[in-house]
């Protein structure tokens, strides 16, 4: 009897996912516990392990397929002495008995004719294919390589080689021309398909801007003391550069202390009640390829600066490798988004629902400030808090920022 391999649910709320990659091929022998495929969920790529052992007789959902319903049949496993003949009837039986598979076919192909049997390959129609509709371009291998190196599209180049083939010289002269003159690309645009992360970002932030009444509070923080403290601590880490603290680590800690002091800023809106979080879990926005993700420093108020720093480094690294577990980025009561490293002076972030506040951090820079009627130079950092007015009123937001400012300007207070 063949064994079904079904699309797994990698989190309780997951209803569909993308089959990112098959690690094993048809005909390959697998044993229980081996990784057979990679599934892309809302924000992460997860590995799927085999439960049984056997030979992969058939892969039904090719890699790259999007929106595969949880519990749909993705592959069939057989024992070594089983025959292929059982397989087709087995798959056919499963396909007709499984509503979800049929549903995909209907949705994705959009064909009114529903009499067609559930085609196994149908879900691929939503995959990345079809983006490029170009006819074949004839170019020498060297011309292709140089075009890639120079970042030139072959579709605009007239070939002068045999039968109009694009050769090295054509690409080189195109590269030369492209420097002096305006060269308009014949293709007006190219399409980059939205991956799951892009879709989630779009959905959640649109929802936030449409339903969350935002307001914004800005404050300037004098950073000289905290920079000093950081320098002192880091100089003691001379032998171990990996341990060095970043300004962001201090910001997280100051934020945690401020949330402890103003717990009403650590809250979410629900229709019947305001949800006040008992724990201080801070989501930190991390830019990754193709989008961003918000890993969480949990119980940040109870961790020391070194612990926060090492945890943050690890989370950021794994975020960029797509290796975070769902519980590491789902949840959190408050968010920080820091664009200071890009030279941004100040900005307003969009509240990350269901959280009530997000703090946008700008660049620290030396600026003239008036102190005792004299102009002095101080290192200043602008911080802007975006608040959901349903949860946090202006005064509460202001109280939080004042507390944050207190800690970041006098970092010694964070250590008492």
């Amino acid at each position: 009897m063949p064994i079904k391999i079904l699309m797994p649910a990698l989190s309780p709320t997951m209803t569909e996912g993308n089959l990112a990659k098959w690690v094993k091929k048809e005909g390959e022998k697998i044993s229980a516990g081996e990784v057979i495929a990679e599934i892309e969920t809302d924000k992460a790529t997860m590995e799927v392990e085999a439960v049984d052992e056997g030979i992969i007789a058939k892969i039904l959902v090719p890699e790259g397929t999007e929106g595969v319903q949880v519990n749909s049949l993705i592959a069939v496993l057989v024992e070594e002495d089983e025959q292929d003949a059982d397989l087709d009837t087995f798959i056919a039986k499963f396909s007709t008995s499984q509503k979800p598979v049929e549903k995909i076919v209907e949705e994705k192909t959009g064909e009114p004719d529903k009499m067609k049997p559930a085609s196994i390959s149908a879900p691929t129609s939503t995959s990345v294919q079809g983006v490029s509709t170009n006819k074949r371009i004839f170019a020498s291998p060297l011309a292709k390589r140089i075009a890639a190196l120079e970042g030139i599209s072959l579709s605009n180049i007239m070939g002068s080689g045999p039968y109009g083939r694009i050769i090295k010289n054509d690409v080189l002269s195109a590269a030369k021309n492209s420097k002096g003159t305006i060269r308009r690309d014949n293709e007006e645009y190219r399409l980059v398909p939205n991956n799951n992360m892009r879709k989630v970002i779009a959905k959640r932030l649109l929802e936030s801007k449409l339903t969350v009444p935002h307001f914004y509070l800005s404050i300037e923080c004098v950073m000289d003391s905290v920079l000093n403290a950081r320098a002192q601590i880091n100089s003691s880490f001379d032998s171990d550069k990996d341990k060095r603290l970043s300004v962001n680590d201090f910001i997280i800690l100051a934020c945690a202390k401020a949330l402890k002091e103003v717990p009403t800023a650590n809250a979410s809106w629900t229709d019947s009640a305001i949800k006040l979080y008992n724990n201080v879990d801070i989501s930190i926005a991390v830019a990754i390829e193709g989008g961003l993700i918000t890993p969480i420093i949990k119980d940040a108020d109870q961790k020391d600066i070194v612990k926060i720093s090492t945890e943050m480094k690890d989370l950021a690294k794994r975020a960029r490798e797509n290796a975070l577990a769902p519980e590491e980025f789902q949840g959190g009561g408050f968010s920080i988004s820091n664009l200071g490293m890009y030279g941004i002076k100040s900005f307003s972030a969009i509240v990350n629902p269901p959280q009530g506040c997000i703090m946008a951090v700008g660049m620290s820079s030396k600026r003239p400030v008036v102190i005792d009627d004299k102009i002095e130079i101080r290192t200043i950092m602008d911080v802007t808090l975006s608040c959901d007015h349903r949860v946090v009123d202006g005064a509460v937001g202001a109280e939080f920022l004042a507390a944050f400012k207190k800690y970041i300007e006098a970092p010694i207070l964070m250590f008492v």
Partner: protein, 462 residues
């Protein structure tokens, strides 16, 4: 007055190929040849010399027959029969060309052509003079040995290749001046016949056009066979006394003199531009040869020049290709300009030398960052089978683009191996195309693959 679309002056490998192609394209074509169809290449160059060298190579092989478990009673040679064999091969091929021209309906005029105007040519034959009208003229008159003052050939003690490839007897000793392909091939030939050979070269290396590394290997190999070399020399004078030639030259600033029975001058060639009536046209000369555009057009729009008369490299295959380019341009097609970096050059000595594209030195001077691969014959199974373990295949790639900038090889049969790289260069292949190619085992051609693997740090067999 007979009218032609194309009149080709000279029936060598440039001229006869141009004529055949012109006829194929529907152009009414004539060839004027004053001596032998096939030109120097078939009659006095490529073909007969390679026939001689084959005899020499075979002689050397037979001397090593015991290594193969074969005993020969007595090894000897007869220079007359060696020469005859080479003449017969030439004659056969010349006959073939006559047939090809006839088949392609090309009219052949025997005699010397003179351009009267850009549209007319007079052919002076043995006993008649014909005036022809030409829409287009292709000059393919080739070249002749360059003569240095004071070193004029006399056909007895001072030779050019003409005498060297038809010796009546084998001299005891030869001094060869010039170590290009011609000089080296004759040095190799006469050395194999037991002649005492000395080669004089003005450049700092022998085979001056070849990669330095290959040139050094060649020199070492020839020296081990008994050929003596003097590089960086400057010829001073020659005197003939008692059937011996005494050559005086400067070597490293010091005067030196050598004598031998024969002095073979192989110091390049001179384009045959004289007595052609060029003064009646706008055709311009550039350093002795006819100046042409990328499609072989001269300053006179309907007159083309191809092959040796139009400049280096002086190679039959370059002449033939230019013939095709010129004719296609005349026929209104859009031929591709000649890329000189894609023309292979071969020397048929033992060992053979073959190359295409840039030498390492030239590539570095051009500012490329290089990836260089080398694969030696001794690590190749077929080379061991042939008993020819001397040699190397060197490949030079542009590290950035993977373009094969140059390939240089020395060893057994490399002249038959170079085409692999030539085709790739012509198609603009990159290193991956070699790396992914499957070459037959066991063959020398496997080294073409391995040399590229070595350039990219992953050779299998070394």
């Amino acid at each position: 007055m007979e009218k032609f679309d194309v009149i080709v002056i000279g029936g060598g490998p440039g001229g006869y190929v141009a004529a055949i192609r012109a006829s194929q394209l529907g152009l009414k074509t004539a060839v004027v040849e004053k001596e032998h169809l096939g030109g120097i290449c078939l009659n006095w160059g490529c073909i007969p010399t390679k026939a001689l060298l084959k005899s020499a190579e075979l002689l050397q092989k037979i001397k090593h027959a015991e290594e193969f478990g074969i005993f020969t009673e007595k090894t000897g040679f007869d220079i007359k029969r060696i020469v005859n064999r080479s003449r017969n091969i030439s004659a056969k091929l010349v006959g073939g060309i006559k047939g090809l021209l006839k088949k392609n309906k090309v009219t052949v005029f025997e005699g010397s052509a003179k351009i009267i105007s850009s549209k007319s040519v007079v052919v002076e034959g043995k006993d008649q003079k014909v005036s022809l009208e030409a829409k287009n003229i292709i000059i393919a008159t080739g070249a002749r040995p360059r003569i240095l003052e004071g070193f004029e050939p006399d056909g007895k003690n001072v030779w050019t290749y003409r005498e060297a490839l038809m010796p009546e007897s084998v001299p005891k000793s030869i001094i060869v001046v010039g170590s290009g392909a011609i000089g080296i091939e004759f040095a190799s030939f006469y050395n194999a016949l037991g002649v005492e050979v000395t080669v004089l070269e003005a450049a700092p290396q022998i085979l001056p056009m070849e990669d330095e590394e290959i040139s050094a290997i060649a020199k070492k190999s020839f020296e081990s066979k008994g050929i003596k070399f003097y590089t960086d020399i400057k010829l001073e004078s020659k005197t003939i006394n008692n059937k011996k030639v005494k050559v005086e030259f400067l070597h490293n600033g010091a005067k030196k003199s050598l004598d031998a029975e024969v002095l073979l001058m192989a110091v390049g060639i001179t384009a045959n531009t004289e007595n052609l009536g060029l003064e009646n046209t706008k055709v311009k000369l550039d350093r002795g040869h006819i100046a042409t555009s990328g499609v072989c057009q001269t300053a006179e729009g309907n007159i083309y020049a191809i092959g040796d008369v139009a400049g280096a490299p002086w190679l039959a295959h370059k002449a033939s290709h230019e013939g095709i380019i010129a004719v296609e341009h005349i026929a209104g097609k859009k031929p591709h300009e000649l890329n000189k970096l894609n023309i292979p050059g071969c020397t048929y000595s033992t060992p053979q030398i073959a190359s295409v594209g840039m030498t390492e030195k030239i590539a570095l001077a051009a500012g490329y960052k290089l990836k260089i691969g080398r694969f030696p014959f001794y690590a190749n199974g077929k080379a061991l089978i042939l008993g020819d373990t001397e040699g190397v295949i060197k490949t030079i790639f542009d590290a950035r683009t993977g373009e094969l900038l140059g390939a240089h090889m020395i060893g057994s049969d490399v002249t038959e191996l170079i085409h692999g790289y030539v085709i790739s260069k012509s198609m603009e292949g990159i290193e991956l195309d070699f790396i992914e190619a499957i070459l037959p085992h066991p063959t020398l051609s496997e080294m073409l693959h391995e040399s590229v693997l070595q350039a990219y740090d992953k050779p299998i067999h070394i």
